[in-house]
């Protein structure tokens, strides 16, 4: 695969109140043609700054930005073959839907009949045909979102940058748009770079995810890999819920308060993460070979498709357990019950291994 976007050790420094602040501390990425790539991280992690450097709104302090092999580090945004969907859509309020979508083509002096054809086609794709004459403020959030998408995609950019495009929508619409976005991306075959702080969104849509924290990429991998094998404690904590257990392992077993954690082949200090849905909750002592911990149920939360248990160990640490409501809605354990937690050795993932 050829690479669509390359960042080569990009650094961005700002001057804030007389002090130099590093928003991006050296990020290298290689995003492939046609890929759905997400930059995921909490606010202030540098993901938006990284995207703005790809778009050309910010110039990196150090490093190179390449689009399709060409160095565009100092090329202004209007000369870059990428388009952006802004967080608040940034539609032109004084223009109709049609004029909004036609803006880029007009700027590029595209022939009139081609503009008419392409804008028409694009409005079909985003399901807005018949609403050409509306003004942005006469439309719902979801419709504005689709105008913003059409306005960028109609130019057939080599890459589309999306800055938290679903952030302003309610949950149902957001989920529908996630599927919609993925469909459109498959249909047009354009590289998507997607900035989000919502891990579910990133996991659902992406081919690959770069998890960012404090100006650096913590892990760059596919969704499954990131979820199952987090590279750092930060990634484990940021993606989904996870239980972190630390201590010194001897001979493949980590002794913790109230039990044992199987960590095959490990010796010395380790940090282990276990996903809540991998843990079984029960009253009987688990078989040998399984990780097993004893604790007291501190809280049971009914969440519809599953129950969430907070189990406190003898030393006060808490482990979260999800149990699916597969058969009936009654909880396996009640608050105050003494329980055994167990999971298979393969689900103790040692961070950094």
């Amino acid at each position: 695969m050829t690479s669509a976007i390359e960042l080569d050790d990009v650094v961005k420094e700002y001057l804030s109140h007389g002090e130099v602040v590093q928003a991006v501390k050296g990020v290298s990425l290689d995003i492939a043609e046609g890929e759905f790539f997400s930059l995921l991280g909490p606010s202030g992690c540098g993901k938006t700054t990284t995207m703005r450097m790809i778009a050309g709104f910010e110039a990196p302090t150090k490093g190179l930005v390449k689009l399709h092999g060409q160095d565009v580090t100092n090329v202004p945004p209007n000369k870059r073959d990428v388009n952006m969907v802004f967080q608040s859509y940034a539609l032109f309020p004084h223009m109709s839907v049609w004029d909004n979508v036609a803006f880029g083509l007009k700027q590029r002096k595209t022939p009139q009949d081609e503009i008419r054809r392409r804008v028409g086609e694009m409005l079909e794709i985003v399901d807005l045909a018949g609403r050409e004459k509306r003004r942005p403020r006469e439309m719902s959030g979801g419709q504005q979102q689709r105008v913003a998408l059409a306005r960028a995609l109609v130019n057939r950019p080599r890459a589309l940058l999306l800055d938290e495009p679903l952030g302003a929508l309610d949950l149902k619409l957001r989920q529908a748009m996630q599927i919609e976005l993925k469909r459109i991306q498959r249909e047009v075959g354009i590289t998507f770079v997607y900035v989000t702080h919502d891990q579910n969104e990133a996991l659902t849509m992406s081919d690959r995810i770069a998890v960012m924290n404090d100006g650096l990429v913590e892990q760059l991998a596919g969704p499954r890999e990131i979820y199952e094998r987090p590279a750092t404690a930060f990634v484990a904590g940021f993606i989904g819920t996870s239980n972190l257990l630390t201590g010194a392992a001897t001979g493949g077993t980590l002794k913790i308060s109230g039990g044992r954690v199987m960590v095959p082949g490990q010796d010395g200090d380790v940090t282990v993460t276990v996903r809540p849905e991998k843990i079984t909750i029960g009253t009987e002592e688990p078989a040998a070979g399984l990780s097993a911990v004893r604790g007291t149920v501190a809280e049971v939360v009914y969440l519809g498709t599953y129950n969430s248990y907070a189990v406190s160990l003898a030393d006060g640490a808490e482990i979260t357990v999800f149990q699916q409501n597969a058969h009936d809605a009654t909880a396996t354990a009640e608050r105050g019950d003494s329980v055994w937690l167990s999971w298979q050795a393969q689900h103790s993932y040692v961070i950094g291994s």
Binding site: A55, F57, K79, F92, R137
Partner: protein
Amino acid sequence: MRRLTPYLLALPSWMWLAIFLVVPMVAMASVSLQTGNAIDGFAMTFSFSNYSDALGRYSTQLLRSLLYGGMATAAMLVIGYPVAYWIAFKGGRRKSMYLFLILLPFFVSFVLRTISWNFLLSDNGILFGTLKGWGLLPDDFHVLATAFAVVGGLTYNFLPFMILPIYVALERVDPRVVEAAQDLYATRAAAFRRVVLPLSLPGVFAGVLMTFVPATADPINAAILGGTANTMIGNIIQTEYLTNLNYPTASALSFTLMAVLLVGIFVYARALGTENVLEAAAR
């Protein structure tokens, strides 16, 4: 009672408008149709010829006023728009300080400011006297008592009224919308022309309205900076009213000026596209 509250709250302002706007207007309209003199008194004769007489005698000054007012407004737009733009987009954390600086001249009386301009521009004053002394200007060079001085004075005095509404309109333009235009291949100039300028038109409209009307009617600048050859309609109205005690002519001229300005504004609003202006403002 609840439902009446908003009306009751609005009552003082309605009373104010009725007493201090409607009543004097009606009185002035009535005076403009009377004949007589200050000693024997004026009587209502429905003398519409007051209007044609006044216009016949003072059409030069009326046209000059519209010309000076228009020139000053154009100058204010050219100077004021960039200032408003700069404060709105580049002002950063000092925005309010810059706005305060714009308003600072208001802390000095309008008349005094104009007199100090007279002082600055006088033929052998601090500026031109010195330059003439150095031989940088010919001895007969003068600015005072020219159209340039009057238009300059009007421009200086009303400039803040142009800057502020344009600033308010530009301040409301989302910088991301400008970025979106640049992202969609617009150069900085094209982004300004196609996005920033149209979105700031309501401010331009308000600014022109708030400067053209008072500048055209203003008597102070022509009186202090204009000498005798640049009399504007405001000066005539003042003289007719206060010196000649010719109330009907003064009133007729005032109404004529008002009518001309109202028609002008209406045409201007249509030309600019009221629909666009109002829509952008309602955003």
